[in-house]
C-alpha cells in the first residue's frame, strides 16, 4: 500500500513541476519591458477608484457554510456506500434516515430564503 502512495507522492512532486517548467521557459524567452502604465491595476482602462478590497456579501460565506455541512454528510455516507454489499436492509434504512435528516436541513435553509443569491 505504501507502494501506491509513493507513486502518488512522486506525482505530487512531478505535477507542479510541469507547469512550473512551462512558465520558466518563457521567462527566458519573453520580453520584459515594464513601464508604469503596464504595471497599473486594470480597471476597464481607467484609473482605479477606491480601495482594492471590496465589500463582500455575506452570501458567499453562507454558501461555503452550507457546502461544509453537506460535504461532511457526504464523507459519512461514503463508508456506508462502500460497505453496501454486506449490509442488511435495516442498515440501509438507517443510512436513508441520515440522508432524510439532512434533506430536512436543506429544505429549512431553502424556506428561510438563505439560498438566494444576493
Amino acid at each position: 500500500m505504501i507502494d501506491t502512495w509513493l507513486y502518488i507522492g512522486i506525482f505530487f512532486l512531478v505535477a507542479p513541476l510541469i507547469p512550473a517548467v512551462a512558465i520558466l521557459v518563457p521567462k527566458l524567452v519573453a520580453p520584459r519591458k515594464p513601464n508604469p502604465i503596464k504595471l497599473d491595476t486594470y480597471e476597464c482602462g481607467l484609473e482605479t477608484v477606491g480601495d482594492s478590497q471590496v465589500q463582500f456579501h455575506i452570501q458567499y460565506y453562507i454558501f461555503a457554510l452550507v457546502f461544509l455541512i453537506f460535504d461532511i454528510e457526504a464523507v459519512f455516507l461514503f463508508p456506508w456506500a462502500v460497505a453496501f454489499n454486506q449490509l442488511a436492509l435495516y442498515m440501509v434504512v438507517e443510512g436513508i434516515l441520515f440522508i432524510l435528516i439532512l434533506l430536512a436541513g436543506l429544505v429549512y435553509a431553502w424556506r428561510k430564503g438563505v439560498l438566494e443569491w444576493a
Partner: protein, 401 residues
C-alpha cells in the same frame, strides 16, 4: 505486442537493475518516469484538443474554423503556443508575488494529479488506491484554492470579485457532484477507480442515468465551462479571476481548463461508460487504451457541443439550480437506488438493469411533471395566430395614380 506498456517497463526495469542500482531507487525512478509520461501525454492531448475544439466550434457555428496554419489548420495550436511563449508576463503593482505565481501552477497541477488514479487499460493504471473517488474530489479542491489565490493576489477588484464568485459557483456544484459519485460507489461496493471499472459488467450509465447526467452537469459547472462560464465572460466581469495574468501564466490557466474538461470526459468514461472495457479489452490491453480514449473523447465532444449550443446562465439561476434542484434530486435518486439495490440483491443481471433504468426514467418523468406543474418549464410554443406586426398605411384617398 498486445501489452506494450508492460513490455517497455519490464525491459527498462531490468536495464536499471542491471546497472546495479538498489531496487528501491529503481522503483522510484520508474515511478518518476511514469508520472512524467502520463503528464506529458495529458498535455499533448490538450494541444490536440485546442485544434479539435476550434474546428468543432467552427462547424457548429456554420463556419470553417482555423484553416490557415498548416493543412486543415493543424498547426494552429503550435502557432498559439509559440505566441503565448513570447508574450510578456506582467506582474501588476501591489500583487502578492508568491501566491500570484503559484496559482496557475497549482491550478494545472490539481488537474494533472487526477490522472494518477485513472485506469487506462486492464493492466495500466498509475496508482490503484482504494480511495480513488475521494482522492479525485480532494485534488479538485486544490484547484478551488488556486483560484482564490489568483483572485486575491492580483490586487484588482474585478479579479477578487470574480474569484469569489467562481469559488461560490464551484463550491455550490461540488455538493451534487460528490453525492452523484456516491452512486457508482454504491453499485460497485468500493471507492477504488479500478474496482468501479471492474464492476461495470453493465455500464453504470444504464443503471444510474440520472446520476451520470448530474455528474456531467456539475462537472461542467466545476470547470467553469459554458453555459456556466459567467466568471470568465468578457462582457460580464472582464476576465474574472485571471484578469491580471498574461503570457504563459494565463496560458497555464487556459491549458488547465481544457485539460480539466478532457479529464472530466475521462472520468465520465471511467465511472459511467465502463472505462477501458469493451470487446476483447481484457486479452489485448492495447485495445483498452483505444476504448478509453474513444469514450473520453465522446465525453469531451458532448461537453463542447453543450457549450456551443446554450446561452450563458445568470448567476442567481445557476446557484439556485444547484442547491434547489440538483441536490434534492440527487439525494432522492440516492435513496431510491439504495433501496432498490438492496431489495433486488441476487437478482438476474438483466432484470436488475431494466428495473434500475425504469426507476430512473420514472424519477425523471416525475421531476418533469413537477416542474411543469410549477410552471418552471414552458409549454410547447403556441401557434401563431396571424396578427400582423406592422401594417402599411393606406394611401390617402386623394392621391392620383
Amino acid at each position: 505486442m498486445s501489452d506494450p506498456i508492460h513490455l517497455i517497463s519490464t525491459w527498462f526495469r531490468e536495464l536499471l537493475l542491471g546497472w546495479g542500482l538498489a531496487p528501491l531507487l529503481v522503483q522510484i525512478i520508474m515511478y518518476f518516469i511514469g508520472a512524467i509520461v502520463i503528464s506529458l501525454v495529458a498535455m499533448g492531448v490538450v494541444v490536440i484538443l485546442i485544434w479539435v475544439e476550434r474546428k468543432i466550434a467552427g462547424r457548429i457555428q456554420d463556419r470553417l474554423g482555423p484553416n490557415r496554419a498548416g493543412p486543415f489548420g493543424l498547426l494552429q495550436p503550435i502557432a498559439d503556443i509559440i505566441k503565448i511563449f513570447t508574450k510578456e508576463m506582467i506582474t501588476p503593482n501591489g500583487a502578492d508575488k508568491i501566491p500570484f505565481n503559484l496559482a496557475p501552477v497549482i491550478s494545472v497541477a490539481s488537474v494533472l494529479l487526477i490522472w494518477a488514479v485513472v485506469p487506462f487499460a486492464a493492466t495500466v493504471v498509475g496508482a490503484d488506491i482504494h480511495v480513488g473517488i475521494l482522492y479525485i474530489v480532494a485534488v479538485g479542491t486544490f484547484g478551488i484554492v488556486a483560484i482564490l489565490m489568483a483572485g486575491w493576489s492580483s490586487n484588482n477588484k474585478f479579479a477578487l470579485l470574480g474569484a469569489a464568485r467562481a469559488v461560490a459557483q464551484m463550491v455550490s456544484y461540488e455538493v451534487p457532484m460528490v453525492l452523484a459519485l456516491l452512486i457508482p460507489t454504491l453499485l460497485a461496493g468500493s471507492m477504488g477507480v479500478t474496482s468501479i471499472v471492474a464492476a461495470q459488467d453493465v455500464w453504470f450509465v444504464v443503471l444510474a442515468p440520472i446520476a451520470a447526467l448530474v455528474f456531467l452537469i456539475t462537472s461542467m459547472a466545476e470547470v467553469g465551462r459554458a453555459p456556466f462560464d459567467l466568471l470568465e465572460a468578457e462582457s460580464e466581469i472582464v476576465a474574472g479571476f485571471h484578469t491580471e495574468y498574461s503570457g504563459m501564466k494565463f496560458g497555464m490557466f487556459y491549458v488547465g481548463e481544457f485539460l480539466h474538461v478532457f479529464t472530466i470526459g475521462a472520468l465520465i468514461a471511467t465511472f459511467f461508460l465502463g472505462g477501458w472495457r469493451g470487446p476483447g479489452a481484457e486479452t489485448y490491453p492495447i485495445l483498452g487504451f483505444v476504448y478509453f480514449y474513444a469514450k473520453a473523447f465522446l465525453g469531451y465532444f458532448i461537453i463542447t457541443w453543450v457549450r456551443l449550443s446554450l446561452p450563458r446562465i445568470r448567476i442567481d439561476h445557476m446557484l439556485g439550480f444547484s442547491w434547489k434542484f440538483l441536490t434534492p434530486l440527487i439525494l432522492v435518486v440516492l435513496m431510491v437506488t439504495a433501496l432498490l439495490v438492496k431489495m433486488m440483491e441476487g437478482a438476474n443481471i438483466w432484470i436488475f438493469s431494466i428495473v434500475m433504468l425504469a426507476a430512473n426514467i420514472l424519477i425523471g418523468w416525475v421531476v418533469v411533471l413537477i416542474l411543469k406543474r410549477m410552471e418552471l418549464m414552458r409549454p410547447k410554443r403556441q401557434k401563431f395566430e396571424g396578427r400582423p406586426v406592422a401594417v402599411a398605411p393606406k394611401p390617402p384617398a386623394s392621391a392620383n395614380s
